[in-house]
């Protein structure tokens, strides 16, 4: 997966702006290249939790575009690895790309949470 610098900074900026809480949003991908970060609202604002909230009409319209969607969220201080909560709450995003940004470490990482476990996706 390729996340260009401009998209990466959009994610990082949003994550810092939401401190002390976690931030979340959607990453739109074309052929594994991130083309846009759509910041969402954390409907359960907490340093340890997020619940992604986006206007359903806007979100449904994003679904009309020929782009893949990946959930992005920030971890305030822990490493950008899926936590137990992330795995338990993966729901319909099972098998989809899953991106985490650690604010403290300024690290971005991509994963795929599947029935069998957690696989890293290499980032460029």
């Amino acid at each position: 997966m390729v996340i260009p610098a401009a998209v990466r900074s959009a994610i990082a900026e949003h994550a810092r702006a939401e401190l002390p809480n976690e931030a979340c949003g959607l990453l739109l991908l074309e052929d594994d290249v991130a083309v846009e970060y759509v910041a969402a609202e954390n409907a359960s604002p907490s340093p340890y939790f997020f619940e992604l909230k986006l206007d359903p009409l806007v979100w449904a319209d994003l679904g009309e575009r020929d782009v893949e969607q990946a959930v992005v969220h920030s971890h305030v201080s822990s490493p950008p690895r899926p936590s137990r909560t992330d795995v338990e709450r993966i729901g319909l995003w099972l098998g989809q790309p899953y991106v985490i940004y650690s604010v403290r470490l300024d690290e971005l990482a991509a994963w795929r949470i599947t029935d069998g476990g957690i696989e890293p996706i290499s980032l460029a």
Binding site: E22, C24, S44, S46, P47, Y48, F49, F50, E51, L52, D55, P56, L57, W59, A60, G63, E64, E68, Q69, V71, H73, H75, V76, S77, S78, P82, S83, R84, T85, D86, R89, I90, G91, L92, W93, Q96
Partner: protein
């Protein structure tokens, strides 16, 4: 006709369509019709007669959970939007539960990582702080389980009284549970048990019968059994032989550890009745079959408060030594040194047996390159404050321990 907009994550179930048509006068009828046409959608969007937990359903841009749920009315021309819910985060938010009595406060103790105490950064060492139970020890689990098992089997009913040979944590735990449930309790203990122990037991409402100091805890057992034979009113839970002891640790201590951690390579607990090692060991082994269940056992002739040497000649009936993967001997001096270090490095005030368990945990952790070690710390240091070892110079620790029988 209602239009249903399908998110990318669910399009595989509808042949790739971005939107599909369905009929119905309510969201429930629309979704049922949708599932009739595309059965693979069923488990994704409906569960237990309601909307599945990981999907959100909108009508006119409003979440139907905030409208009338599945009974929300729809009319021809409406659009129903399905979207994949998403939640997660670094960890689960937590708030303390509201208990209906002290009985509910037993168990669910915290696990804390001991980053400074761990010998290697890649070996994560966790302590299960059983001192956080209501009377301050792991024995609250055992006492509650034994009393409730006896109530369930009919052995214990109103009008009977409890009798247990113990000067220690089990007595205090039984006294708390007995007080809440309304049973009288008598504890038989060696006459040289500490005054603060006796005081604590009396405050919780227990009566005390003394046994000869020279006979130690075996003397207390002898006298308790004599009393029990003489009067059928007594019910003796007898933790050394009571399967509810093991079950409390299987269903409680062990299950809590297995649920909280993604991996356990070594589990260390003190050898006392064997309840923790048998119950928690078995439960953790079910989740992590390669776990090494290790017992911290005092060296023969060098008693560590709260622990039992099998060389003393008594093997508790609930203990099956063949289920232990490792048994590590620990001296009193090592136990005391470790418990003082725990306080100095981590700010945790543990009891002496916690020192023994941590000494063993650290030794076994040292054999790993990386991994997860869990140490069950049976109680806090609060009930041992009058002991001299806390501030005695290291070389004097041995002698400062010899004068009093604790438990």
């Amino acid at each position: 006709m209602i239009t249903v907009r399908i998110p990318p994550t669910l399009r595989g179930e509808v042949g790739g369509a971005r939107q599909v048509d369905a009929v119905g006068d309510t969201v429930r009828e629309v979704l049922d019709d949708l599932v009739d046409r595309h059965p693979a959608l069923g488990p994704q969007i409906l569960a237990n007669g309601g909307i599945a937990p990981f999907v959100n359903v909108y009508v006119g841009g409003e979440d139907v959970r905030t409208l009338n749920g599945l009974d929300t009315a729809v009319v021809t021309g409406d659009t129903v939007i399905l979207l994949p819910a998403m939640a997660g985060g670094a960890s689960r938010p937590w708030s303390p539960p509201v208990a209906t009595s002290g009985l509910d406060l037993v168990g669910s103790t915290p696990l804390v990582e001991l980053t400074r105490f761990s010998p290697k950064p890649d070996v994560r060492l966790y302590a299960k702080l059983e001192g956080q139970n209501p009377t301050g020890s792991i024995k609250d689990r055992v006492a509650k389980a034994m009393i409730e098992a006896a109530e369930a089997s009919g052995e214990l009913e109103p009008g009977r009284a409890l009798l247990e040979p113990t000067s220690g944590n089990t007595g205090i735990a039984l006294a708390m549970i007995a007080r809440i449930k309304g049973y009288p309790l008598t504890c038989v203990m060696p006459e040289n048990a500490t005054e603060e122990r006796k005081r604590l037991l009396r405050l919780y409402g227990a009566e005390i019968v003394s046994s000869p100091a020279a006979e130690g805890s075996n003397g207390a057992v002898r006298i308790a059994l004599q009393l029990a034979e003489s009067d059928p009113r007594w019910f003796v839970p007898f933790q050394y032989a009571n399967p509810a002891n093991v079950r409390a640790h299987y269903e409680g201590t062990g299950a809590e550890i297995a649920t909280a951690l993604d991996r356990v390579d070594i589990l260390v607990a003190g050898l006392g009745t064997g309840g923790t090692l048998m119950g928690a060991g078995e439960r953790v082994r079910e989740s992590y079959p390669d776990v090494v269940v290790a017992a911290a056992e005092p060296m023969p002739g060098d008693p560590v408060m709260g622990l039992r040497s099998l060389d003393d000649g008594y093997v508790p009936p609930i203990l099956d030594v063949s289920r232990l993967d490792r048994k590590v001997l620990v001296s009193n001096q090592e136990s005391v040194t470790a418990v003082r270090e725990l306080l100095r490095l981590e700010g945790i005030l543990g009891g002496v047996s916690s020192g023994a368990v941590l000494h063993v945990a650290r030794r076994l952790a040292d054999e790993l390159d990386e991994g997860v070690v869990v140490a069950v710390l049976a109680d806090g240091g609060w009930k041992y404050l009058s002991a001299d070892f806390w501030d005695a110079p290291d070389e004097n620790v041995e002698t400062s321990m010899e004068t009093t029988v604790w438990w």
